[in-house]
């Protein structure tokens, strides 16, 4: 289906105050691809993600989601297509209970109650959080919060998932569960992170951002083997691709 397509052309963004966050970013992501966005702090990752569903308006260039260019008129449709998981789950879980939070999106779509119940439970079961349904969000652990935040987005049935630092602040087991979950999705996935090992597991393609521009765009293994490129972009080889510190192999 063509509406899983994400096309960004010469995207530019300047924050009030004059910081140029994006200086002409272009790429095209097709149906079902999992793409990692990596780069140093301040390279423009989060700014780029916020453009993908119109949380920020571009200063130049364009964003195209599926068949629609992102404009004021198509915003509602685009937001339904692109599910965004924020970096801090506390920003996303604002309703009194987990169940109500996951139901927030579907309720806004005006679905009938039976359909809402089914969608919410399906989303919670997908992330393994059905048992948390009646808990208030402030009583969840970091991993549980992240899982519920993802469920809240899944309940909107998006075609494209955009995740900002999904593995940050997670313990190792929660991180592993998250990786399994992300690998299992059939959605188009765009993941911004510093966790290159996770990218190695989940994404077949990686885009490297450096100072607001695309420094490289290609197959993940190829990019992570280019030590010169990684060094220039303030990155490091994923730990699993580095030599063993004990035996040196």
């Amino acid at each position: 289906m063509s509406h899983h397509l994400v096309e960004v052309k010469d995207l530019k963004h300047t924050y009030p105050g004059g910081t140029e966050a994006l200086r002409g970013v272009s790429f095209r992501i097709t149906h079902g691809e999992a793409v990692g966005i990596v780069g140093a702090n301040g390279a423009g990752k989060s700014t780029l993600l916020l453009h993908l569903n119109g949380c920020l308006a571009p200063a130049g260039g364009s964003v195209r989601i599926g068949d629609y260019p992102l404009t004021k008129e198509t915003l509602a449709g685009v937001r339904r297509t692109v599910g965004m998981v924020f970096q801090d789950p506390d920003d996303q879980l604002f309703m009194p209970t987990v169940y109500e939070d996951v139901a927030f999106g579907p309720l806004n779509l005006g679905l009938p109650p039976g359909e809402i119940e089914a969608r919410v439970m399906r989303a919670l079961e997908t992330v393994g959080a059905a048992h948390l349904r009646d808990r208030p969000p402030y009583r969840l652990s970091g991993g549980e919060k992240r899982a519920v935040a993802i469920a809240a987005v899944l309940a909107m049935l998006p075609d494209i998932l955009v995740l900002d630092e999904p593995s940050s602040n997670l313990d190792l087991k929660s991180r592993r569960q998250l990786i399994g979950l992300l690998k299992g999705f059939k959605h188009t996935r765009i993941i911004a992170t510093h966790d290159l090992d996770m990218i190695l597991d989940v994404c077949e393609r990686t885009i490297v951002l450096h100072e607001g521009r695309v420094a490289a765009d290609g197959p993940t293994t190829e990019i992570f083997n280019d030590e010169e490129l990684l060094r220039r972009s303030h990155l490091e080889k994923p730990l699993r691709m580095q030599a063993c510190p004990v035996c040196g192999k």
């Binding site: 509602a76 937001r79 801090d88 920003d91 109500e100 927030f104 809402i116 208030p136 987005v153």
Partner: protein, 275 residues
């Protein structure tokens, strides 16, 4: 603010969580529709504050309401009393000048003359105890979310209920953030016992900026999920005959207690029964 600010903030937070735990019990009081409890509590408060300045004994029968709910709702009485103590200073400040200003003798008990000031002071304290405990009991038997939902259904302005709900949710996040800032301060200001005004200003300012930032991100997250200005409540409420009985029964009792001076009637009855 004291240097132990971080820990006292955290204990206040634990207390709030305690009230939510109490609200999740299963008792006949908890099972009542939140609307029934909100309406009854509002009626109770209205009746209590409608009493006259010097009424003390006439208020006493109204104690039946908090006591009955504490017992039937399985609430620890100490918890409710603790909350009363927390709010006590405000009532004390309001009432403390009455005994000094109003010295006309109102009641004569043998040789002891009680001035109008003391009587009105007692009345204020009693009314304070009744109204605050009614509010605490309402939250502890209902939970904050359902109270907001009930207000919403009772046609309270939506802006108000939405604000109230988000306020409660982010109280936890904000207190944790403030607690972290206080801890960071106390670790680097080992010998100081109090925060200076200057430092306090910058801490409070930073907290405000962080809150504004978070509000912006939160709004973005809401927009991403199709928010259009109204939060659509999920839970269906069912107002049953038992709920109607709860409201009608209590309101009838409040009215009787307001119109008739029950302790007085009781006293007269007792007198008549005496030979």
């Amino acid at each position: 603010m004291r240097a132990g600010g971080a820990s006292s903030l955290e204990s206040a937070l634990l207390d709030l969580r305690g009230i939510e735990t109490l609200a999740q019990q299963e008792t006949p009081v908890h099972r009542r529709d939140p609307r029934a409890k909100v309406v009854t509590a509002l009626a109770f408060i209205a009746v209590v504050i409608s009493f006259g300045k010097y009424d003390v004994s006439a208020l006493l029968p109204l104690l039946a309401y908090p006591v009955a709910l504490i017992v039937a709702g399985n609430l620890p009485a100490r918890f409710v009393l603790g909350k009363l103590l927390l709010a006590l200073p405000f009532a004390l400040v309001i009432g403390m000048f009455n005994p000094l200003l109003d010295r006309t003798a109102l009641v004569q008990l043998g040789d002891l003359r009680v001035s109008g000031g003391w009587v009105s002071f007692a009345s204020i304290m009693l009314r304070f105890g009744l109204t605050v405990s009614a509010a605490v009991i309402l939250i502890a038997t209902t939970g904050f979310g359902p109270v907001c939902l009930a207000l919403n259904r009772l046609k309270a302005p939506r802006v108000f209920t939405t604000q109230l709900m988000l306020l409660y949710r982010y109280l936890f996040v904000l207190t944790e953030e403030a607690g972290r800032m206080m801890r960071a301060w106390s670790l680097r200001a080992v010998s100081e016992r109090r925060i200076s005004i200057r430092v306090f200003g910058s801490l409070a300012g930073q907290l405000l900026l962080r809150a504004l930032d978070r509000a912006q991100r939160l709004h973005a997250a809401m927009l991403c999920r199709g928010f259009d200005g109204t939060i659509r409540p999920m839970r269906r409420l069912k107002f049953t005959a038992a709920d109607l009985g709860f409201v009608a029964g209590w309101c009838a009792f409040f009215m009787i207690a307001r119109i008739y001076h029950l302790p007085h009637l009781l006293g007269q009855g007792m007198m008549r029964m005496l030979p």
